[in-house]
């Protein structure tokens, strides 16, 4: 992209133009090299938005919960970006992205931008695209960014790295899942929500969760807490998202958490964690891509790779050699040299 059209494009995004934002997200999704330059420009304008992750097992009613939260935040006059993430089929690569259907009521609200994303085989579940999309929304001026994901396995860790506030939605009847995830729940979830509160078992699930260490009744936080508190006790509350019940309180608690993070060191800590993880993720992906690109076009490198494939060179040594090569290059020791099979030669 030429410099001027790139700047125009970036300006449009910063001005909140819908199609520009949308196209930018697509570029990031496609890992289009054009995206990189634009992202570099946008990066400086990030940092205002409150990034909220909503996760939980399938059937927890996350889409309804997110829709209800959008409604609440809009009532406060905040502009909202929603990223609805659904898994891609590992077999076909396709996906059905159905979360948008729950948010029909915002179709004509210009301050609500909803984007559906598929994980596209991203190891860990949350794609690099989501990270980029968050920055794009942030730069475009969204006050609130809601990320809806499926909480299965690795996803939870990813969302913890990305979001400022993680809302974990559970429903009665997920006893087994709860048991399996119990260890994970300790770390995931700044706020726990028992959704579908009108169903039997909701009350007892609420009680069970409140008894866990570090957790407390949502009412406690709403009524008594001071955002200047030292530690955040995880509030557990009830909602019936499909009716909107309990969601005004949830939105308030979410805002309180953001305040808490800002006043303490929490926010900067999270941002630091996020950026370093983002960097490492980008780095490992790009390194891999670059390497693959190189050995596909460089015959000498290809020959070296063939050795690995023919079981003549083990992957452990091979990776060590590449690392050594880079370290030596950094130390200015290498000029026009290919990584060699040193040990083999010496034998």
């Amino acid at each position: 992209m030429e410099r001027t059209s790139l700047m125009d494009f970036v300006e449009e995004i910063l001005a909140g133009k819908v199609f520009a934002i949308s196209k930018m997200i697509s570029l990031v999704e496609r890992r289009d090299p054009k995206a990189f330059n634009a992202m570099k420009q946008l990066y400086g304008k990030c940092g205002r938005a409150h990034i909220i992750g909503v996760t939980g097992p399938p059937g927890a009613g996350k889409s309804c919960l997110v829709a209800a939260l959008v409604r609440q935040f809009r009532k406060k006059g905040l502009s909202v970006g929603v990223l609805a993430v659904d898994p891609s089929s590992p077999f076909t690569g396709g996906a059905v992205l159905g979360d948008r259907a729950r948010m029909e009521e915002f179709s004509s609200d210009p301050e609500v931008f909803i984007r559906s994303l598929a994980t596209r085989g991203s190891v860990g579940g949350l794609s690099e695209a989501v990270n980029g999309a968050v920055d794009i929304f942030d730069a475009a001026g969204k006050d609130i960014i809601l990320i809806e994901t499926v909480g299965v396995g690795q996803n939870e860790i990813d969302i913890v790295n990305l979001a400022h506030t993680v809302v974990l939605a559970l429903v009665p009847g997920y006893g087994d899942w709860l048991q399996a995830m119990k260890a994970g729940i300790m770390e995931v979830g700044d706020i726990l929500v028992v959704n579908k509160a009108d169903q039997p078992g909701a009350g007892s699930l609420l009680n069970e969760l409140c008894l866990m260490p570090g957790k407390t009744m949502a009412r406690d936080i709403l009524d008594n807490a001071d955002v200047r508190m030292e530690t955040w006790r995880v509030p557990v509350g009830l909602t019936t998202a499909i009716k909107g019940e309990g969601t005004a309180d949830l939105a308030s608690i979410i805002s309180m958490h953001f305040q808490f993070l800002k006043i303490g060191n929490g926010l900067s800590e999270k941002n630091r964690e996020r950026r370093i993880n983002q960097f490492l993720d980008l780095l490992s992906k790009r390194m891999r891509e670059e390497f693959v690109r190189h050995y596909q076009t460089d015959p000498a490198l290809r020959g070296w790779i063939e050795k690995i494939k023919n079981l003549k060179l083990d992957p452990y040594q091979a990776s060590e050699q590449v690392i050594d090569f880079i370290v030596e290059a950094r130390e200015g020791k290498i000029r026009n040299k290919r990584p060699t099979n040193k040990k083999e030669n010496n034998q």
């Binding site: 196209k23 396709g94 996906a95 029909e104 179709s107 909803i114």
Partner: protein
């Protein structure tokens, strides 16, 4: 860069009933490796907004209780106005074959009869996506 999945918006007109057909197409397009934003019901404006926010390659509208001609006109006019000029437009459902030509003249790229296997739709999309222009 690997082949990017084709992104499709599947919508039914608001107000309508009978979603069996488009629900199945959504599944079949997913089986064919596409990303399908399954929108359920929307007015033409809703559909346009969604298409732009999602930056889809294809918009598929399912119509079971008539209105295909006025909807097609409104949809194309709205897309052009918003600058979305390169999207593939398809329609399906209870649409009489005698109206296919009129729809194509308005600018719908392809109209499908009911009951066809999803592969037919998927193949058409794969062959024509990226070449589509709104006239």
């Amino acid at each position: 860069m690997a082949d990017q999945p084709i992104k499709v918006l599947l919508a039914k007109k608001k107000i309508d009933v009978h979603g069996r057909g488009s629900k199945l197409i959504a599944r079949e397009l997913r089986d064919a490796g596409m990303e399908v934003v399954y929108f359920r019901f929307g007015t033409v404006d809703d559909i346009i907004n969604a298409a732009i926010q999602e930056n889809v390659d294809v918009i598929g509208v399912s119509i079971m209780t008539s209105g295909h001609l006025p909807i097609a006109e409104k949809l194309i006019a709205g897309l052009k106005k918003n600058g979305m000029n390169e999207v593939l437009l398809i329609m399906g459902g209870v649409i009489p074959e005698v109206d296919f030509k009129a729809l194509q003249e308005i600018g719908i790229h392809k109209v499908f009869l009911p009951g066809l296997p999803g592969e037919t739709v998927a193949e058409y999309i794969k062959e024509n996506v990226g070449k589509a222009r709104l006239n």
